[in-house]
Amino acid sequence: MGKPFAEKIFSARAGRDVVPGEIITVEPDYVLSHDNTAAIAATFAKMGAEKVLHPERLVIVLDHCVPAADAKHAENHKKIREFVAEQGVEHFYDVGRGICHQVLPEEGFARPGRLILGSDSHTTTYGALGAFSAGIGRSEAAAIWATGEIWLMCPESVRMNMTGEFARGVGPKDLILSIIGDVGADGMLYKSVEFAGETMEVMSVAGHMVLANMSVEMGAKNGYVAPNDKTAEWLASRESAEYEAVYPDADASYESELEYDVTDLPPMVAKPHTVDNVAPVEEVVGTAVDQVVLGTCTNGREDDLEEAARILEDRTVASGCRLLVFPASREIWREAMKSGAFEAIEGAGGIIMNAGCGPCLGAHEGVLAPGEVCLSTANRNFKGRMGTPEAEIYLASPATAAATAVEGRIADPRGYL
């Protein structure tokens, strides 16, 4: 019997046959940190460490509260810049470059077969490009800086087979919300989830990223899409050091396999206050919203902005509703300028913000007031997430977000496309 992706890459890294449940010591190719780098540096110092063992393996991206919202955040960023200079960290991306989960793919770090750990739960995103990537804690990042290695348990694997073609106005975000609603917030706890099937062959890499990004919302250790023609096309246009893809064996055995046919899938939303509280958009159509957020590491890519722009073109954001748009990176920002997406969004009354995490984690740039309702294309709607526990957050696709902004109430995007 063959091995799934996770067992293949764990075995390759360990230099022996590894089975699920086994703990191995690994040397990650890259370790990601962001605005939490200063805190990691403080832990690193507590460990008695002075020099980072492999500074070339660190990738540091300032994105969580950029530009700094107040003096405390500014001081945090300053400390990080000092640490970067002191340690000679070459892969440092300062305020404005973008969200780490878009920057690592663009800058050539997230590549097939690589092992990437990050002090951020959505580090799972790079599985969209065939990497094994998972989130770790801050102390663990410090331990890797000091020693170059860390322990990982080999996970069990689950394959999700996707078939069919999306209806107009329906896409990867609706699919992953429906999967999370189906399996639950802990449905894939500790698992390596492989997204496979014919639908993945036609889905864009941005779509692959939506699935891998949100795999952590069902508890997964990592999400993975086997590199295909779409991946090859995306990679061909970008530079990177060499890499070697790792694929699951054709006869791999999985703990379980799940089937999803997307043909009749409607637009989906996650209702407050958990990501697995999922319903078809029809159920909540008409719910008044104060703010719509389009962007984040889940849905701030070209596909997403263009889909929203198609709906917003020649329309107007409803009075009393704010539309905030956060492109995932500077590169995407420029593309959206060129493609006309920004013109359509801005023309409709949307506010174009800088590349970064924005209000997703409640730090700044559009946090909510008590009693307000927000529909966001982000990945979490937990109570208190966007600044106050007394606000409500709905999660949905860029198309649903755009239609909702036009009506000022949650709307079904299918009537607009």
Partner: protein, 163 residues
């Protein structure tokens, strides 16, 4: 050995209610971190928890963000152990690294309510409730126990660098 009173909560308790995201980049003092523990879940917890008390929860405790203050805020607040039906994986790692002991038990959470006195013997792998009921649980893997026994990952790495 841990001895204390139970603080009982439900399933899928996420890191945003354990330690709100708005504090993650600016609050660094251990006492201040402890003062926000479970702030958006149970505003009475931080002020009233006693050293050795045990947080008892259902499935998927600590789901959500990778922020390790979610584990450290409980440790700093004096929590002796967390007993859960299951843990979200990053929280599980963070708790090990914070030196916060964890018990995985399918049955114990259902049998306990807030205020119950319990004691937990990690060597024997036993959780004893006041009514005499005993729940057994599997020990942590040795690689992982070594980190908890060192008092957390900082101490563990410090010893390793000094070797």
């Amino acid at each position: 050995m841990v001895k204390g009173k139970v603080w009982k909560y439900g399933d899928d308790v996420n890191t945003d209610v354990i330690f709100p995201g708005k504090y993650t980049y600016t609050v660094t003092d251990p006492a201040e971190i402890a003062s926000h523990a479970l702030e958006d879940l149970d505003p009475d917890f931080a002020a009233n928890v006693k050293p050795g008390d045990v947080v008892v929860v259902g499935r998927n405790f600590g789901c959500g963000s990778s922020r390790e203050q979610a584990a450290f805020c409980l440790k700093y607040a004096g929590v002796g152990a967390v007993v859960a039906e299951s843990f979200a994986r990053i929280f599980y790692r963070n708790a090990i690294n914070a030196g916060l002991p964890m018990v995985v038990s399918k049955d114990a959470p259902d049998a306990l309510v807030t205020g119950d006195p319990v004691d937990i013997d990690f060597t024997a792998g036993e959780l004893r409730a006041a009514d005499g009921k005993v729940f057994t649980f599997p020990p942590l893997p040795p690689e992982v126990m070594a980190i908890v026994e060192a008092g957390g990952l900082v101490e563990y790495v410090k010893r390793r660098l000094n070797r």
